[in-house]
């Protein structure tokens, strides 16, 4: 690894100030489970690395007026153990559990997972299916965007180099919404997703309401399957329709063909995973 200057601000405000002053020659380091691996490979080392892993403002999971706030610096292990996540968004616990192994989950943060922005990120689909938003802070203040607007391309987000992702908000309307996440990798431990998927829904009068379907690892970024959602919205729960929604979702993805799996295998997986996550969410829902 090439040398760099190391700084560790002790508050969010001083982190923002330093980012403003030093950008674009500064990079953020959180848990380091993505970025330190990158740094070992590249000659493109920034002048300064800023450690945000101990900023108190980026920690914690709290109920706030507009929903559930998850600090960007919360680790995957903390998500798995948190009672509010268990109460309001348990699918996130399952998603966090599939990330790496215990040593990686103890360091890796949810903010780092989203900002690295690889298409196979495992915290993406569930959060997208729950209509999550993110708060981004820069020297000109805070902006709130929907999580899907953070994702621009593989390893590319809409964050500017002087901005910090501070928190993820799951809106009130999604708290407790029946949801399910499924990851398919080549092994049980430490495997990248070939495909991952999450669905969330309410059932009203026996019909689908506010259905969300999100898939990862099969397009440049984690996507919502808008056509499949539209196909089912308002319709009566029916296994055959759910299966058809899985087929429609396939048309919305562009999976790659590589040494891990062929494109056609990934397409088959999309249909199966979308169907399974919807059916699992139906099982969790109150049916009035």
């Amino acid at each position: 690894m090439r040398p760099f200057e190391f700084i560790k601000p002790d508050s969010e405000a001083s982190a923002i100030e330093l980012l403003g002053k030093l950008s674009p020659n500064v990079r953020i380091l959180a848990g380091g489970t993505d970025y330190l691996v990158d740094l070992k490979h590249t000659a493109d080392v920034p002048k300064t690395v800023m450690d945000i892993s101990r900023l108190p403002e980026l920690k914690g999971i709290d109920e706030v007026d507009d929903g559930l706030r998850i600090g960007a610096g919360v680790t995957h292990t903390e998500i798995m153990q948190n009672p509010l996540i268990k109460k309001y968004a348990p699918a996130m616990i399952h998603a966090a559990h599939t990330i790496g192994a215990v040593q990686t989950r103890n360091l890796g943060t949810i903010g780092g997972n989203l900002v690295t922005c690889v298409p196979s990120m495992d915290s993406g689909p569930t959060l997208v299916a729950l209509d999550a938003e993110v708060n981004i802070v820069g020297k000109d203040g805070t902006r709130r965007i929907s999580l899907t607007d953070l994702f621009v391309g593989p390893r590319k987000t809409s964050l500017k180099s002087n901005e910090l992702l501070t928190e993820i908000i799951i809106p009130k309307r999604s708290l407790g919404k029946p949801a399910n996440f499924y990851k398919f990798g080549l092994r049980k431990g430490q495997a990248l997703a070939l495909v991952n998927a999450a669905s969330s829904l309410w059932i009203k009068g026996g019909c689908f309401k506010d259905l969300r379907i999100s898939i990862g690892a099969v397009a440049p970024v984690v996507i919502r399957c808008l056509k499949a959602e539209k196909y089912l919205e308002g319709k009566k729960i029916d296994e055959k329709l759910v299966k058809e929604a899985g087929n429609i979702a396939v048309t919305e993805a562009k999976p790659i063909d590589d040494f891990r799996a062929s494109q056609s295998y990934r397409n088959d997986l999309i249909a199966v995973l979308v169907t399974r996550t919807i059916n699992a969410a139906i099982d969790l829902a109150d049916k009035d």
Binding site: F4, E5, V37, D51, V102, Q103, N106, Q190
Partner: protein, 159 residues
């Protein structure tokens, strides 16, 4: 430009201070500055688990944490498990069950299981396999490691 820092880490109960380059991993600091060569570095990419140490009570990859990030933290390495010549029950169980062959992966398994068994006194085989899923062993085929962990759990529960 090289940047150097003075850091103090509590390693195996003892405050240790050194002057390090900021780009050095915690694993390298432990081995090269503190001469605690029990911590092995394998892949140095966060995959193999050989470099696992316990930081503030949680197992982490010492190849994916900078030494400067560990400043002020408490670290337990494999050297911290035994009490002098008395092996820790996990080490004893690895020895009895042939839980190692070449030994390269062993420090990582021991530190991972040390942390796991401290928090789970009565684990199932499945839970043990899950706990060590971030540690790779190319020799043993894992079965004897799992047997050792089950044995160690019994001994630790009884003590």
């Amino acid at each position: 430009m090289a940047d150097n820092r003075e850091i103090t880490i509590k390693v195996n109960g003892k405050d240790m201070t050194t002057y390090v380059e900021t780009r050095l991993s915690l694993g390298d600091v432990l081995r090269e500055h503190f001469h605690l060569t029990g911590t092995h570095l394998g892949c140095e990419h966060g995959v193999c688990g050989a470099c696992t140490v316990v930081v503030d009570g949680e197992p982490i990859r010492s190849c994916l944490m900078l030494g400067v990030q560990a400043h002020g933290k408490e670290v337990t390495t494999v050297e911290g498990l035994s009490k002098g010549e008395d092996l820790h029950p996990i080490q004893e169980a690895f020895w009895k069950n042939h839980g190692l062959q070449c030994g390269y992966c062993t420090p990582g398994f021991l530190t991972t299981l040390f942390s796991f068994l401290e928090n789970n006194s009565d684990p199932t085989e499945r839970e043990i396999r899950e706990a060590i899923s971030g540690n790779i062993c190319r020799c043993t085929g894992y079965q004897n490691i799992v047997n050792a962990a089950l044995d160690a759990a019994k001994v630790m529960k009884g003590s």
